[in-house]
Symmetry: C2
Subunit: 329 residues, 2 copies
């Protein structure tokens, strides 16, 4: 099979490629060609060197999408996006990349299908940012999309296009609304959500971390390993069971910061947990206060998507996958 991964240089993209390298059949068949695309040159794991090619492409540039669709991949995994903060700060760039770039990809696939029959699987990374406060205590699968950011608006629009293009048989689409991924590997970053990972990752590496909010703050999580599983499952599942509602809130774990810290203490001990320093930040408290705390996720679970059921598990996955099984840096 031919596979196209757009946004292959990002965190989820890289983890997905590691998974494919370790389990070559995980995307549903033998891979004959794997095209990796991003605005920065994506790297393929060594095990995939024989079949993969890397391209530095901005999907929103004229002709870019058509060139990718011309390869007629059987599976497209579209992870690329301008992130939330940048899409809010730069109106034109956010709409150009997140909306026009995605629509160009969808239309390029349609144009291929008009030349000769063609209907690839299209797996699209959406976000719980399609929802906006006020929320019910648990957000049901039929809750409306009222985003409060331009990023969330762009994702919600692409979800609508994904469903309509799938209904018309242009491609066979699945939209994946990701929970907040935790523990994110790598360096601490300045994203408002960064502390949810920082307060686990840094202490596990023997470093101090800053907690800017109260321990009562509740949010919605899945591990990077679950995120990869969402995409491999969406790539291979029987989509006849989805029906016309193609966009799915993924399963996850609802937990408070206090529950995160208690799990860290159970898994790694009190000395590690003591590396978390409380430094309240009103700005971050304000931003996070409007975020969703819990999703129902029934539909996605019934369709075979799975995630963690405890924060201990999420922390152990980080220790296994990122720290070689060892705590303390």
């Amino acid at each position: 099979m031919k596979v196209l991964v757009i946004g292959a240089a990002g965190m989820v993209g890289r983890k997905l490629l590691e998974k494919v390298a370790a389990e070559p059949g995980v995307l549903g068949g033998q891979i004959d060609s794997l095209t990796l695309v991003d605005v920065f040159a994506p790297e393929a794991p060594a095990a995939l060197a024989g079949v993969s090619s890397s391209k530095t492409v901005d999907l929103s540039e004229p002709g870019a999408a058509a060139a990718l669709a011309a390869e007629r991949p059987d599976l497209v995994i579209h992870l690329a996006a301008v992130v939330s903060g940048e899409a809010e700060a730069d109106f034109d760039k956010g709409y150009r990349v997140n909306l026009d770039g995605t629509r160009a990809l969808f239309d390029a696939i349609r144009a291929e299908g008009l030349k000769a029959p063609y209907c690839p699987r299209m797996v699209f990374a959406s976000s719980v940012a399609v929802f906006g406060a006020p929320f019910p205590p648990s957000i049901p699968d039929d809750f409306f999309c009222t985003p409060l950011t331009s990023y969330g608006t762009q994702k919600a629009i692409c979800e609508l296009l994904l469903a309509d293009y799938s209904r018309r048989g242009i491609f066979d689409g699945v939209g994946i609304r990701l929970p907040t991924i935790c523990v994110r590997p790598g360096k601490p970053n300045a994203a408002a959500s960064g502390f949810f990972s920082n307060i686990l990752r840094e202490p596990l590496a023997g470093q101090e971390a800053v907690l800017p909010v109260d321990e009562s703050v509740r949010h919605w999580f899945a591990s990077p390993r679950s995120a990869v599983g969402f995409f491999t499952h969406a790539a291979t599942m029987d989509t006849s069971k989805i029906g016309p509602r193609r966009n799915l809130s993924m399963p996850g774990l609802s937990a408070t910061v206090g529950e995160q810290i208690a799990a860290l203490e159970r898994v790694a001990g009190p000395k590690v947990a003591a590396l978390i320093k409380r430094v309240p930040d009103e700005t971050i408290r304000g931003i996070v206060g409007g975020w969703a705390q819990r999703f129902d996720g029934t539909r996605a679970r019934e369709l075979g998507f799975t995630a963690e059921s405890s924060f201990d598990e999420i922390i152990r996955i980080h220790i296994d996958d990122e720290l070689g099984g060892k705590i303390g840096g």
Copy 2:
């Protein structure tokens, strides 16, 4: 004030202009200029001749939206759309007019605002086609948009843009999801929904009409007079009370075909009601079977939008407004 009406030659557009001619202050102030736009030359009522100008414009053509926005209207009422059946049959035309045309209008207003401060009221005609079956018995205000047509998809996308552009202060938007308008004036048409009006309008004019579905079929209605009221209210209301959820399912009346016919008999007598001929049509039964039967409409009512509470009232409005108060043709 300067007013721009796009889609002014359609049924709702014409009725709205008649209302403005009869009540010059109904849009919130004295009208200094009224620009009427449609793909067919719109006609202004005689009373508005002094201030109005008509333009034949396709909003999706390059430069068209910018020329309209350059007049810097205080109020834009955007009613123009390729209808449901045509948007389904012609993919490119539907997306070009209903999505790209509307986005071009929104972006042209943004471009004006980047030149000098500008934030007009934008009233957008959406549709209950943004919703898709299966439905709960009454569709709540927070039910998700999962359209089952390209038309509904295009309207849902424009709703998302309307909310995001309003949130950013580009314009002050209100999206109006219209119920099925009944009794539609004019000739019987071939739309699948046509019979809901035909079975009232034609008998009231002394003509036979065909009923293609069972009397148990339930649907969601408002009169043309209510539709005009939705737009004049949206043009003049205090939008600070709406909050970020800018798109509203309008109030309406849930009624079965049997209740329609009973009302016709009460208002016009059994001889008139006897002009309805039952000719079952499986295709129309199938289409209508997937339609929404009832909306909650609480938010819109709390914001001051009103509609009829009985079908007798809807029929009397038709007799008053279209038949000069007389039954029988």
